[in-house]
């Protein structure tokens, strides 16, 4: 049973650029999938289709039983509560502390303070930032800020974690640490991970499923694959 299913998906932007063309993907629950490709190959568009930041022009996108294409604007939040999103630029709120940056998610869902606290502490412990609860984002390194972003994404225990170039702004060592965190979330929580990246080292080292895109088209889908873009499927 697929947890995420893309059927003949097209995304054509208003300016006529085709970002995704006829893509078919099935992802099972608990999978760890890399989406690779060069800049402007359609990785980000594909990721955005999953959390309904973009709507497909044609085709079906189904995430955890929700038909994303048909989802009304005022229902999108239901989908997003099932999906944790990790961004390349972290998207933290500068005026909130680390704790508040994670807690405000649950706060906005209407949780009680007594429910929020243990969940936030748990998420921050998982990413190794328990000691920095009271720090502000500008006092943290890039890697630490990315950890806060991950903690925020997993605090509500989502079924899927979607990562858009999470290591794009980080050096190799820090990237490795971040990947360790993401891998442990996949293994320990059983969270499905979908990660767009163009970091060859990471893909080659992790030996996970790899989906390759070129000019919006699917050119490869390998179990335990490595980073290769020249080989057509």
């Amino acid at each position: 049973m697929s947890f995420i299913e893309l059927k003949n998906v097209y995304k054509v932007y208003k300016n006529g650029i085709t970002a995704v063309a006829d893509v078919n993907i099935n992802i099972k629950k608990g999978d760890f999938v890399f989406i690779i490709g060069q800049t402007a190959c359609g990785k980000s568009s594909l990721i955005k289709l999953l959390y309904r930041e973009e709507r497909p022009t044609k085709g079906q996108v189904i995430v955890g039983g929700i038909n994303v294409a048909k989802l009304k604007n005022n229902r999108v939040y239901k989908l997003r509560r099932k999906i944790g999103i990790v961004f390349q630029d972290y998207k933290l709120l500068p005026k909130l502390t680390v704790y508040e940056n994670v807690a405000f998610v649950l706060d906005s869902y209407g949780y009680k303070e007594s429910e929020i606290k243990p969940k936030v502490i748990d998420a921050l412990t998982r990413v190794g930032l328990k000691e920095k609860l009271r720090s502000f984002p500008n006092e943290l390194s890039g890697g630490e800020q990315q950890r806060v972003c991950i903690a925020r994404a997993i605090v509500n225990k989502p079924k899927v974690l979607v990562c858009d170039e999470p290591t794009g702004n980080l050096d190799a060592t820090t990237s490795k640490e971040i990947m360790k965190v993401i891998d442990s979330i996949n293994k320990e929580l059983g969270t499905t991970i979908i990660m767009a990246t163009h970091d060859q080292d990471i893909v080659n080292r992790m030996k996970k499923r790899v989906i390759a895109l070129k000019d919006g088209m699917l050119i490869g889908d390998w179990e335990k694959g490595s980073y290769k873009l020249d080989e057509t499927a």
């Binding site: 959390y51 930041e53 604007n73 005022n74 999108v76 939040y77 239901k78 989908l79 997003r80 509560r81 999906i83 999103i85 998207k91 709120l93 405000f104 998610v105 706060d107 906005s108 869902y109 209407g110 949780y111 009680k112 925020r152 994404a153 509500n156």
Partner: protein, 299 residues
Amino acid sequence: MRPLRILFRSISSAFKSVFRNLSLSIASLTCIIITLMIVSIAIIFSSNVNYSTKEIEKDLEMVVFVKSETTEEKVKEIESNLQVLPNVEQISYVDKETAKEDMKKENDTYKKIIEGWEEGENPLDSYFIVKVKNIEDMSETAATIKNLEGVDTVNYVEDLVEKMVSTFQIIRNVLIVTVVALIFVTAFLISNTIKITIYSRRNEIDIMRLVGTSNTVIKLPFIFEGLFLGAFGSILPILVTIYSYVFLYDKLGGVLFHPLLPMMQPYNFVFKVGLILLAIGSVVGMFGSYKAVRKYLKI
């Protein structure tokens, strides 16, 4: 419990936002205060004009003289003709003998003159006292009555009252138009304030949308912010209304320039006006922010 918690958090967040963007809030507040002051003046003025007009109407009557040679049957006919007129509220008939007696009682001069008349002599005419429903149509009604058969003349305090009432009504209409225009300007300004709040918090809003916050939770604080601006803005106009109306009422002795035009009793009336101002402020504030939220929160 959860919706209640969300409601309280929205309210506290809205409250903080009013103070966070203080200069903008003050600009909106000033506009609301000025608008509501004018609204208040308009309400007070038009209520008093209405009240005075009603009071005048209560006392205002026409005297319809019947031609001297008219028979009693003819008088009955006139009476029934008067009763069917749409603007006639009430009529009463005074025959010439009663008129003579009434006149005698009025003052000594009249009494002497009348006593000088020969026995049985009575040059006076019988008349009807007619009360009208609406003074604005008084001259029209008078003209109709004058054309009835057997009616000699129709007397009433013509020009003064009529002109005064129509002038008041023009002023009142001008005020209403001004108030409506001002309410729109205020709604627009509040909408702008909220727009800037939304703009300054767009990152936060973006992130909230991405992490699955529902649209209602995102929108509520802004709606409350508009409501607060409107409600806070009505406080000063309400106080000014209450104190200045009471002061004016005492100063003018309860009449509007002329004893013919009584003012409304201040108590209850000023509190009603205060409530109306609070309601207008809150509704305009909410409406303004609702517009901004719809337009600028593309969710």
